[in-house]
């Protein structure tokens, strides 16, 4: 690494020249027809329905069949359904909706998310989860020191800032949704709570696929929490993380099976212990330099995947991490060329695996 800086010439801007191509001209022509359709009653394109998965732009006619129920991303005008966002058409039973290509995170019940406290209020915390509205975490929905299931007292109410304060990161589950679409969270499990010993990365929420498990143990003694909202936490694996993984993926790791029951019982007896003040501690454990370096590498790998607009999943992170080992210096991973080649490596190895 000799260069202090890498300067690249930017690729050409999107220019109007493209429109001079025949293809675009004809497209433009049909667009104009659409405009006419919207105002007038004539419909020259009737019968051309957008099928499931096709891409539409705002104002584009999706169907003139009135039997469809109009969902998100669509509007209804004179018995015709138009798109109101750029995205793909989705047809589920009779429900017609357009899934936007890019949008803020829309919470759903059961989502495992990572959020940041923005406000401490009356018996509740406001949490930024990257959605339209701040989520709410009620004092009653968290584990408090001194037993998991005790009643919340007034003293708890007065020292809420000692548990979680502005800026703190936590992972939680969406418990329910309010009428306005904002989420109510809970952390009533030991896998949820304040986040420590690691670093935070933010990616577009569309890159995270909802799955059963969002906490993954990665090679190098690292645990990653892929929040459905695109907030990601990478940390040094704790004992808890390791014991959880043996129980969750016990079938995969048969040699750990005998120990897994043990780990279970330990984690249950530790329940009381763990829910002492320590879960709200603001102190990091000692993290060795090599673990810190691994965390940085993972962070850069995840940013590279996001740069290539690849969905971020556990196998992809591992595969990209292994591919990144070709670059000894973690700092090299921030060059856009390196990021792109890394993304290509991941795709190639996926194809290979598919072929094999």
């Amino acid at each position: 690494m000799s260069g202090a800086i890498s300067v690249t010439k930017r690729k050409e801007f999107w220019s109007n020249d493209l429109l001079e191509g025949d293809e675009y001209e004809s497209d433009l022509g049909s667009d104009e027809e659409h405009d006419v359709e919207m105002s007038g009653a004539h419909d020259s394109n009737s019968g051309v329905d957008h099928q499931d998965g096709s891409i539409v732009t705002p104002g584009e006619l999706i169907t003139d069949d009135p039997i469809w129920m109009k969902g998100h991303g669509t509007y209804f005008l004179e018995n015709k359904t138009y798109s109101s966002v750029v995205g793909t058409v989705s047809r589920v039973n009779r429900l017609l909706s357009v899934l936007p290509l890019k949008s803020r995170y829309i919470p759903e019940t059961g989502d495992h998310i990572v959020g940041r406290i923005t406000d401490v209020g009356n018996r509740r915390w406001k949490v930024d989860i990257g959605a339209k509205q701040y989520a709410v975490l009620m004092l009653g929905s968290v584990n408090l020191p001194g037993g998991v299931l005790r009643r919340k007292s007034e003293t708890d109410e007065l020292q809420m800032r000692n548990f979680l304060k502005e800026g703190d990161l936590l992972n939680a589950e969406v418990q329910s949704l309010f009428q306005d679409g904002s989420a109510s969270l809970h952390t009533r499990s030991l896998k949820y709570g304040k986040l420590r010993n690691g670093t935070f990365v933010k990616v577009p929420s569309s890159l995270i696929v909802r799955s059963k498990n969002h906490t993954h143990n990665l090679p190098g003694n690292i645990t990653v929490i892929l929040g459905v909202n695109g907030f990601i936490w990478i940390r040094k694996s704790s004992k808890m993380d390791l014991s959880n993984s043996t129980t969750a993926t016990g079938s995969g790791q048969s040699d750990h099976l005998p120990g897994s029951k043990n780990a279970m019982s330990v984690s249950i007896t530790r329940l009381e212990e763990e829910s002492s003040w320590e879960i709200y501690s603001d102190k990091n454990d000692t993290v060795t330099v090599s673990v810190r370096q691994t965390i940085t590498r993972y962070a850069n790998v995840i940013k590279a995947l996001a740069h290539c607009e690849l969905g971020i999943t556990e196998p992809r992170i591992i595969s990209a991490y292994e591919a990144s080992m070709a670059y000894g210096n973690v700092g090299q991973l921030i060059e856009s060329e390196t990021m792109e080649s890394l993304g290509q490596d991941v795709l190639n190895s996926e194809k290979m695996r598919g072929a094999a």
Binding site: S6, V7, T8, K9, G167, D168, L195, Q293, I334
Partner: protein
């Protein structure tokens, strides 16, 4: 948005290691990669667009007009606009004042003179489209690239109009490249005992102090300023931090300058 206490201490501990481990694994002398495009504004004499990895972005346009410098002595007008900040906010006004003062000092106004009466007057407009960290480095890189790619109309009339009153006339399409050296500004973050160049947003939040050092004509020069990169972790620093920063500049600024010039 602020970081949590644990994030801050984790980051602080990483940055104060020897060698420091930065959020994105860069070395302490390494800049974020930048993308530069120049000459993309057809209506300007010179323009540049600088994008830092991580999403900070800045556009600079250089326009010119011919003025009578016996009447108008101010030949350089610089304006800085930062998206998301009011024009009268401390950040924008102090940045604008710093940069326009600096450019007035460094750009040789004699080179703008056409004749004994007429001069080019340069309007340098800076628009910061997106910026999370302290944007001054990015702005100076953009101004540097824009000025290196500024083309002025070629004068074909005589350059001595002291006796004969004559308006300058220009060649129809021939242009002359502006020969101007713009200064580069470097930001350093001081975190514990580490001195880091080009701090990212997160690094700025945990830094104890910041330094702004100018690189002009192959040497570190004034303005040298201590700048607050945040409001709640500010501490004093020692003389050797400053010397370390100057050493880094002397070592790597020529690389940066070369990279910016060769990208054209």
């Amino acid at each position: 948005m602020g970081l949590s206490i644990t994030e801050k201490s984790f980051l602080f501990d990483s940055l104060t290691l020897d060698p420091p481990l930065r959020t994105d694994g860069r070395g302490s002398h390494q800049f974020r990669p930048i993308e530069v495009s120049t000459d993309f504004l057809p209506n300007s004499n010179g323009s540049s667009h600088v994008i830092l990895s991580g999403g900070s972005e800045c556009i600079v346009s250089v326009k010119t007009k011919v003025v009578d410098h016996t009447v108008e002595s101010e030949l350089l007008v610089t304006d800085v606009d930062i998206q998301g900040h009011r024009d009268d906010s401390p950040l924008v006004t102090s940045m604008s004042s710093l940069i326009s003062k600096l450019l007035k000092q460094t750009i040789d106004q004699k080179k703008l003179m056409l004749t004994k009466r007429y001069s080019f007057k340069l309007y340098i407009d800076v628009l910061v489209l997106a910026s999370k960290s302290y944007p001054v480095s990015m702005i100076s890189f953009a101004i540097f690239s824009a000025l290196k790619n500024t083309w002025l109309p070629k004068l074909i009339s005589s350059d001595d109009d002291l006796e004969v009153e004559e308006l300058p006339t220009f060649h129809d399409y021939d242009m002359v490249k502006l020969d101007a050296d713009a200064p580069l500004l470097f930001t350093f973050a001081i975190v514990g005992d580490s001195v880091l160049v080009d701090p990212s947003f997160e690094e700025s939040l945990v830094s104890n102090n910041g330094l702004l050092i100018t690189w002009y004509k192959d040497r570190a020069t004034s303005p040298i300023r201590s700048v607050g990169l945040n409001n709640d972790n500010v501490k004093g620093f020692s003389q050797h931090h400053l010397e370390e920063a100057i050493k880094l500049i002397h070592k790597y600024a020529p690389d940066v300058e070369r990279a910016l010039v060769s990208s054209d």
